[in-house]
Amino acid sequence: MKVAVFLQQMQSYREREIKGISPFWLLIHLLCCIVSTVLGFRFSRLLFFLFFSTSPLLSPHHLSTITTTTTTTTITTITTTFSALASTNSTTSSLPHSTALNTTTTPTITAFSQPVTTHPVVGRHGIRVRPWPHPDPVEVMRAHQIIRQVQLEQRKMFSPTKNPRPIVIVTPTYSRATQALHLTALAQTLRLVPYRVTWVVIEAGGVTDGTASILARSRVPFMHIGFDESMPDSLEARRFVEAKMRVHALRLISGQKREGIVVFADESNIHDLKLFDEAQKVKSIGAIRLSFLTDPRNPYQENNLQAIPPVQGPVCNSEGQVSGWHTLDASNDGFNPQTMDWTGFVLDLKWLSEKDLDKIDENLNGLLGDNGSGIEPLGNCGEKVLVWWIRAETQPNTKFPSGWAIENGIPSKSETNSTAKRR
């Protein structure tokens, strides 16, 4: 193949009118061929172009062929300059000067019969790589800002309301071993809520420093209220006191006549962020689906191999109106305010401020009414569980470390009792 081209070029050189050049160029060409075979690409044409870029002998079509030499990524810088030069040349000229020169080209290069305007040339092009093909940190930050703006816009477009109302979260708590664990987790959840949040934390037994420090670290706007009664030990009694604490908080909140939504978030529950989106839809009082995970060996589901978790939430008919209730006590599936858990309900502040708070007792009676009429079903009629009730508590008398200081390294097994200091 190369021999054939060589012979062809020898012929064309003979046809040229300028004499005396041929042997010299033959030699050069031979040298270039050898170098090409060593290097692996068409070296001769590059040199030709380098030496004769301003020569009138070379037709513009010859120049355009140079742009399409094969390149690898290592020499792309050379190719780009050539292509820039060649493109400027090709725009100014039209047809080749002498037909004899046409035969020096090999058939794989450009079709020059098209009108030469600034349009992409067919054939092989260089692969342009910039000298430092790595991300620029300023641009990465800018891209992240763009993504954030796009996501904000998306949220604005698809949020259920155009004017989201601020949310007031009511959380009863008391100082104990697992308090830091629960409160921190809830704080992290609340930081992700895309609306304005005020976190009202009522502490049984009065305000304590431990709770205050956890809240201060949370970076959520909070209101820390003390409640005089201390938390009893038994579970039943605890629920009772929690309810009283919530009512106390409601009294304080509803005194301020503002727009807002009240969400009851217990510290040990897991909340889906959609809960807060759904809460924006509430006009008076809304119910969401609440559930908790049970032991598969639960006696309630003796017949099922796979335990269906007990659920509290509304059941709707085909028109989307409430037609029944699930309650957490699976054996008694009717509407009974005494078995309902507070955390399954969401209130509107304006509606709350019109209610008589003295009538609300710990069993949600004053809020829910007798048969649950007027309660709005939220979350696509309670289709998805938005709150999981996790009562992960330790024994009431568990000792808890409210802070560790390890001064002399992690203690080995033998030293555990003595070196670790507890504050």
Binding site: T70, T72, V122, V129, P133, E139, R142
Partner: protein, 416 residues
């Protein structure tokens, strides 16, 4: 008393209109109206504006080819088949050729597929020639204008040049017999032999059912900055690189393979459509031909298309203002692609997304069966309607000949 009734009626009307416009305002905040250089024409209804006569060619030109290879219905050149089927059932169709404004010749030239599913264009010129000969001999409408009021769908890589390699396609040029006809094709590049003036550029076929089956909730936050899946080097046909995509795709890979903002690879993930819906920008670089179905997918999924193809002519360019919707990057600027994309102001990006969210935009890119108003079929008819009425020069005088029936490579003149 009468005056009071009129006043009441007026108030009632104001009330109604007030309600309606409030809804419109809400809808328009999410999407913006699109109007291109031809005006606000995406929602035009072509029915009543033109009449199309569909020639009844023997089935060896159309239906038999599909029966032989049903893959012709799902590949990206399937527009020719579906356009024929749409026109047969459309109200613009007329069975009286004397009153027709446009004549459609249904010949499926891209239905000769290799075992891999790629169309072989080698027999297409002969097939087209044979179809035109039949039309010219059996009806007199072709000879009346030498094809100037006929239109053909030629969705192959380089349109009516009938070749997949650009150099060979340029050498062949557009089939001489189609010199006066209107071509409806996917290929579009300015100052190129294979794009005739007056052609209508259409999007490549993308199966609408498959697309709609993968829609995710639109409030899923877009977290990928730039997304691309496809080849960067075509190792089979261009092992040295630099030929495929004029080196642009290889340049994208070499510059941005280490960039965390660019989610680019050659994989074929099952979540391709879902990932596009989670991206802000989708790259649509040229391949062997400048057009690609990625543009259609990007538009439907709301991802801003980044078009890297010099001088490309995009589908329905007079109806859709592509500069306002997509980002155009010259092939020589590819190494600076990250700088270009991150320096676009946020308001511009949000506006482009609003334009893309317009449902008429998404409909205009698809070929659904059965046809929906505003889809690509209707945009083609709108384009044809905008070319009416025909110029006087279209009708040839008796004895006047404009086409050269023996032009072209010798191989094309053989019968099919």
């Amino acid at each position: 008393m009468d005056k009071a009734i009129w006043v009441l009626l007026l108030f009632f009307c104001y009330f109604l209109i007030g309600n309606l416009s409030a809804q419109d305002i809400e809808h328009s905040e999410r999407a913006e109206r699109i109007s291109g250089s031809a005006g606000d024409v995406l929602e035009d209804n072509p029915v009543g504006r033109l009449k199309v006569y569909v020639y009844n060619l023997p089935s060896k030109y159309n239906t038999k080819r599909v029966k032989k290879d049903p893959r012709c219905l799902t590949h990206m050149f399937a527009a020719e088949v579906f356009m024929h089927r749409f026109l047969l059932k459309s109200p613009v169709r007329t069975r009286n050729p004397e009153e027709a404004d446009w004549f459609f010749v249904p010949v499926y030239t891209t239905c000769d597929l290799t075992p891999n599913g790629l169309p072989l264009p080698f027999k297409s010129p002969r097939m087209m020639r044979s179809a035109i000969k039949l039309v010219a001999s059996k009806w007199h409408y072709w000879n009346r204008t030498e094809g100037a009021d006929h239109f053909f769908v030629t969705p192959h890589d380089f349109g009516a040049c009938f070749h997949y390699q650009e150099e060979k396609a340029i050498d062949r040029g557009i089939l001489p017999l189609l010199q006066r006809a209107t071509l409806v094709q996917t290929f579009g590049q300015r100052n190129h032999v294979c794009l005739k003036e007056g052609s209508i550029t259409i999007p490549p076929f993308a199966p609408p059912q498959k697309i709609w089956a993968h829609i995710i909730p639109p409030d899923t936050p877009r977290s990928i900055f730039v997304y691309f899946r496809g080849l960067f080097y075509d190792v089979g046909n261009d092992p040295e690189g630099g030929y495929y995509a004029r080196g642009a795709r290889a340049s994208v890979w070499e510059n941005f393979k280490d960039n965390p903002l660019f989610d680019i690879s050659t994989e074929h993930p099952a979540t391709y459509y879902e990932d596009m819906q989670r991206s802000v920008f989708c790259l649509c670089p040229l391949g062997w031909a400048p057009w690609s179905p990625r543009l259609v997918e990007a538009v439907v999924f709301g991802c801003i298309p980044v078009i890297i193809a010099d001088d490309i002519v995009l589908p329905f360019a007079d109806a859709i203002p592509w500069e306002e919707i997509g980002v155009f990057v010259a092939e020589e600027d590819v190494p600076r692609l990250d700088t270009i994309l991150t320096s676009i102001p946020t308001e511009v990006i949000l506006r482009k997304q609003r334009l893309l969210a317009n449902p008429t935009m998404k409909q205009a890119m698809l070929f659904p069966q059965p046809a929906n108003p505003g889809d690509a079929f209707h945009q083609i008819l709108n384009g044809l309607a905008r070319k009416l009425p025909h110029d006087r020069s279209v009708y040839l005088k008796a004895g006047q000949k404009a086409l050269n029936w023996t032009a072209g490579p010798v191989g094309d003149l053989k019968p099919w």
